[in-house]
Amino acid sequence: MSVRRVMGTEVEYGISVLGQPYANPMLASSQIVNAYASVSVQARRARWDFEEEFPLRDVRGWERPRSVADPSQLTDEDLGLANVILTNGARLYVDHAHPEYSSPEVTNPLDVVRWDKAGERVMLTAAERAANQPGGLAIALYKNNTDNKGASYGAHENYLVSRATPFTDIVRHLVPFFVTRQVICGAGRVGLGQDGRQHGFQISQRADFFEVEVGLETTLKRPIINTRDEPHADPEKFRRLHVILGDANLAEVSTYLKVGTTALVLAMIEDGWITDDLSVDNPVAALRAVSHDSSLTELLTLKSGRRVTALQLQWDYHDLARKHVEDRLGADADEQTVDVLDRWESVLTRLSNDVWSCAGEIDWVAKLRLLTQYRERDGLDWSDAKLHLIDLQYADLRPEKGLYHRLLAGGRMERLVDEALVATAVSDPPEDTRAYFRGNCLARYPDQVAAASWDSVIFDLAGRDPLQRIPTLDPLRGTKAHVGALLERCRDARELVAALTESLD
């Protein structure tokens, strides 16, 4: 009934070696990760611990045999690609042919924005360092999701949800929300179809790449609801909803609303609050239809026979969520929950009345406004390369080149998180999840951490064999309140492991 829950984001960045379009992207991505690690990751480089990774386990109750899986699904195999764990609790690594930043676990939408933005700063620093190395390459990174030539790469969200909630309820109530959520958080795209060959503007970067409603894949036959069952928490109590259909956002309000509203909808589903069936006919086609209609007037047909616009369906979810919060929390609702509800209401109202007033908050509106201004000034057709360039360059991470950054510098984009807080989040973990323990172990005992993952920190203590694995299965333990004093007290990992194992005995 609030926006608070354990969550995080993982973003694959577009990567381009300037002047070398056919450069090996895995090599370039490795250079990015290694350039960052060479300065920011101390002494020993801790490995990623793959023990709790089950990419083929399906939440619907079965596991796909490895023999029939696509190689891209075997994300639990250590391919020797660059892979580091940062002191802020994040993971920076090469995923397929892209550098990826997976944020540490956080508990609220504002912290999602903060540590997601920290990821942008990490990537930018990495690219600067890669360029400054001897023989280094000029690499540009883009926070977008497609090259407009048929390839797409993801910006995923993760939400911890109750295992007690039937998965069919999640599918039924989340699909209509996901089909329409893009109107408040789409990143905007020039080009229609997977290869962008048809001319025009659409709301979402990702919509054209989704082909089924529910499924296990993330790289082919992409599903609106992904069923990977890898909770990184007690599997009896939780599942981790792995959301793959969202766009990578630069606008802070877009990220904030994307995860904040999704958290509210998940809270309603867990609580059995939604009784209406808002299911949409042919959701995959509807997802595209909504994306292709920046006038926001397209009518969707619901299974009930009702015909509604994407905005009306978003109003339904907003109204249900507001009633839910009022009913369960009343005046005790926390500030961020109220803020997400108010902002959601505000953007829905203005998207109908005065769409350009949302240009400082919603990426697709900011982008479309810029494109429209160019079209009006220069008389450009949607096929014009300049409009495609504006789309691409909006997502360039370099502050002097990126158009989002130019708009931000001109005071045209709203900020939610102070730059000083983003700067500290590059090195510091959130204090209220297990990321605090992970990040601090890496910062304090860099030579003694052999490996780590979401669910563990593994220590290599000289003279003590085998390696000591400290499980961190509960995302809400290992917080500052929980282990802050202990970490302060322990001068090395030996003392820490001794204290932790004693307390377990």
Binding site: E12, G14, I15, S16, G19, P21, Y22, P25, S72, D95, H96, A97, H98, Y142, T146, D147, N148, K149, G150, A151, S152, Y153, G154, H156, T218, T219, I244, S304, R306, R307, V308, Q312, W315, D316, D319, L348, T349, S352, N353, D354, S357, L370, Q373, Y374, R377, D384, A385, K386, H388, L389, I390, L392, Q393, E400, K401, L403, R406, L407, G410, R412
Partner: protein, 64 residues
């Protein structure tokens, strides 16, 4: 049809609000035009030189 009236306050507000916004937009138009020129001039300066080549050379492998 009845269900489409579920949010009478929102569609109903649309007409009135649109009138208000249109007026204010018209009043601010002169200032806005200057502002738009300033934005586009600034962005012209940072846009990659050869749009067509630059866009063509942005080739990615698929990811998740």
């Amino acid at each position: 049809m009845a269900q489409e009236q579920k949010h009478p306050q929102k569609p109903a507000e649309t007409d009135e609000a649109e009138v208000v916004v249109d007026t204010s937009v018209a009043e601010r138009k002169g200032a806005l035009d200057d502002d738009v020129d300033a934005i586009l001039d600034e962005i012209d300066e940072v846009l990659e030189a050869n749009a067509e080549d630059f866009v063509k050379s942005f080739i990615q492998k698929g990811g998740q």
